[in-house]
């Protein structure tokens, strides 16, 4: 009972600390917005990034009209904006209203000397290279088809009794049939749902900022020692065990408040989909917070004052966050780093959260839950031995 009173007092004290609110509740929401938006192009199923292409063709011919239509095809995720003048196109590029500019001269596709000019804005070099490849492939194909058509028509006119116009119509009909025929030469990869950048960073920030409770919990213990409230607590008929349990539960309580606020805020403000099973999210969060509260006790036990807890905690959280995929997606890590990440509690939480977001059976969550529980129990065991000796 007294442990609960100490825990509630700790959580209340924490909630009245403006710095803590800013750091533990507002910061993760802000970072989710920034990182989720900034890395939007890198994630979301590995498609080509959405590109706005500004095109200017002075007169236009069948070839230029055709390439513009091809580039604007839905499958390419390119939005084509036609500029009325070269000047307008240059203004769009300057104002970054388009990602890439494309200048198609009058005789492009007919006269080999007339070449297209691709003008990427800074940071869109990859998109520009893709568009260049598309244009070149298209031009080569067109050139090959035109040449072979002319050759065939010439040969057929010599050999056939039909007149040239009849052969031309037959060939045109045949070519149109081939063109309209939908053929797939490469199979689509099996459909695998992936998380959006906003979903990934919501999970990553939740995992990282819950980890900060380990530092805050450790510091809170030293604060009580410095302000003599710990001594005063021990002068009351309250046991050392109750005090330690109170500090542990207090960390858990604040972490839950922090997580629930974060989850609701990201769901309703940022439209983050946490998956169809809220119970699975709460299940993993329960074990993750348990392990984090255990780590808070370790910080309290193995540091001698607030400053040291602050330094050790901040460094520890940053290393764990980096290694556990909270800063950069785990998928970008080499194999060895991914194996190392398995030693961090936040990576287990993060991968579980993202799995839940894309839908996963309960059976896959037992392993991470047990690993997190193990980290928590080990931390509590080691730290309580040391803390009991230090307090008593």
């Amino acid at each position: 009972m007294k442990s609960l009173l100490i825990a509630v007092k700790d959580a209340k004290t924490h909630l009245k600390d403006r710095k803590a609110i800013l750091m533990m509740i507002l910061m993760p929401i802000l970072l989710t917005v920034i990182l989720g938006s900034a890395l939007k192009g890198m994630m979301g199923g590995g498609r080509m990034p959405e590109t706005i292409l500004g095109v200017y063709t002075p007169e236009g011919n069948a070839m230029t009209a055709s390439i513009v239509q091809t580039l604007g095809d839905d499958a390419l995720v390119i939005t084509v904006e036609q500029a009325k003048s070269e000047k307008q196109l240059m203004e769009w590029i300057e104002d970054r209203e388009v990602h890439i500019g494309l200048l198609l001269p009058d005789g492009w596709g007919i006269d080999a000397k007339e070449r297209a000019v691709i003008l990427p804005v800074s940071g869109q070099e990859t998109g520009a290279a893709i568009i260049r490849q598309l244009i070149e492939t298209y031009a080569q194909m067109s050139h090959a088809i035109t040449n072979s058509t002319i050759s065939i028509m010439t040969e057929a006119a010599v050999l056939s009794s039909k007149d040239r116009t009849a052969i031309q119509s037959e060939l045109a009909a045949s070519l149109e049939k081939v063109v309209n025929e939908q053929r797939n030469y490469v199979n689509e990869p099996p459909e695998e749902e992936s998380v959006s950048s906003m979903q990934y960073y919501a999970a990553a920030m939740a995992a990282m900022f819950l980890l900060f409770n380990a530092m805050a919990g450790g510091k809170s213990f030293h604060q009580e020692r410095r302000s003599e409230t710990l001594s005063r607590l021990l002068m009351t008929p309250t046991t050392v065990h109750s005090v330690l349990a109170g500090k542990f539960i207090g960390t858990i309580l604040f972490a839950w408040i922090q997580f629930l606020i974060f989850m609701v805020a990201t769901r309703f403000l940022l439209n983050v989909d946490w998956g169809s099973s809220i119970m699975q999210i709460l299940f993993i969060t329960f074990f993750y917070i348990f392990s984090v509260a255990g780590l808070a006790m370790v910080v309290a036990a193995f540091t001698s004052n607030e400053k040291m807890a602050d330094v050790v905690g901040t460094m520890g959280v940053q290393v764990l966050a980096l290694l556990g995929g909270s800063m950069l997606p785990l998928s970008l890590f080499p194999e060895i780093m991914r194996k190392m990440a398995m030693a961090t509690p936040n990576s287990w939480a993060l991968t579980s959260f993202t799995s839940i977001m894309t839908g996963t059976p309960w059976s896959t969550l037992w392993l991470p839950a047990m690993v997190l529980f193990g980290i928590g129990v080990t931390s509590i065991f080691i730290s309580s031995l040391r803390l009991r000796r230090r307090i008593a």
Binding site: K2, K12, T13, E228, S231, M235, P237, T238
Partner: protein, 310 residues
């Protein structure tokens, strides 16, 4: 109420408390005097069960501290030397929290907290955060937290350090009233005037030892004549000190820093003229001369050769 028998405490090879014994009766107001580092706070920590004692025994209401920790802690209310409160919480919430730590139920703690706020004169600041309070107000809430469970024995460790005279007077009046209502009080301080005002019996400790204990009258009697002649001189010479000691009626001569001399007098004898004559003959100029009446400070000085505030 409280009995200490030959209590000792050491940290490693260093002995901090060197066999202290005294008794405090129920309803008594007992003063513990001593300079900084004398061992007062260590002694209090042992009485409260915060520190284990090395040897001897401490009994509260006949129960051995250490063996019956929970019961003995429930009897005591402790006012620590530091402001041991939660600064971001309100005065009311702090009092309720500490009350609940002593086992009061939620409603009882709330009712009692309002009574305590009345006692320490801070009802109108009940909802104010502790961090916004003045030093004196914090000290009053610090005392209030110890009163929440209506303890039989109130132990106060230097409760008036660094506060304004108004708050100090309020605290002294509150303690006096509590004692008059039947609460046993142990009051430690190095302000002898506070101890003289509040306590009927006094113990003086220094360097972990009990130097003297008794009622104020007992201690005054020990001073005999007990007056001290304080001199500030120029060009002090050892021969002058020796000659001073030979004067009729001088019990002790203690040389303080900055060429100050405390001459402890044995009786009501008037020797001021003899001292002036001796200084004149020795070619020593007296800049200042003050005759101080006997009090606890002079007794402490006489017994230890040190000032209480050192």
């Amino acid at each position: 109420m409280l009995t200490l028998s030959n209590v000792k405490k050491g940290f490693g090879a260093h002995e901090i408390i060197k066999g202290i014994s005294f008794q405090v009766e129920k309803g008594e107001s007992f003063g513990l005097l001593g300079p900084n580092g004398a061992g007062k706070s260590t002694l209090i920590s042992m009485i409260c069960g915060l520190l284990p004692y090395g040897a001897g025994e401490i009994l509260i209401n006949g129960k051995l501290v250490g063996r019956h920790l929970k019961e003995t802690k429930q009897i005591i209310g402790v006012v620590p030397q530091d402001i041991a409160l939660y600064p971001t919480m309100s005065a009311l919430d702090n009092l309720i929290f500490w009350g609940r730590m002593y086992g009061l139920s939620g409603n009882t703690a709330k009712t009692r907290a309002k009574e305590v706020l009345e006692e320490v004169g801070l009802t109108e600041r009940a909802k104010g955060r502790i961090e916004t309070f003045s030093g004196g107000m914090k000290r009053r809430i610090n005392i209030g937290a110890a009163l929440m469970h209506e303890p039989q024995l109130l132990i106060m460790d230097e409760p008036t350090v660094g506060i304004d005279p108004q708050s100090r007077n309020h605290i002294l009046e509150t303690v006096k009233t509590l004692n008059e209502q039947g609460m046993t009080v142990i009051y430690t301080s190095h302000y002898m005037e506070e101890v003289e005002y509040l306590c009927k019996r006094i113990a003086i400790i220094d360097d972990g030892k009990l130097i003297v204990s008794g009622t104020q009258r007992d201690l005054s009697n020990r001073l005999a004549g007990g007056r001290v002649l304080k001199l500030t001189v120029d060009s002090l010479r050892p021969s002058f000190i020796e000659q001073l000691k030979q004067l009729n009626g001088v019990e002790k001569v203690i040389v303080q820093p900055a060429e100050e001399i405390d001459v402890h007098l044995q009786s009501e004898m008037e020797i001021v003229s003899d001292v002036i004559l001796l200084a004149s003959r020795s070619g020593i100029a007296i800049h200042n001369m003050q005759l101080k009446e006997a009090n606890l400070e002079t007794l402490f000085l006489q017994l230890t050769g040190r000032s209480l505030r050192e």
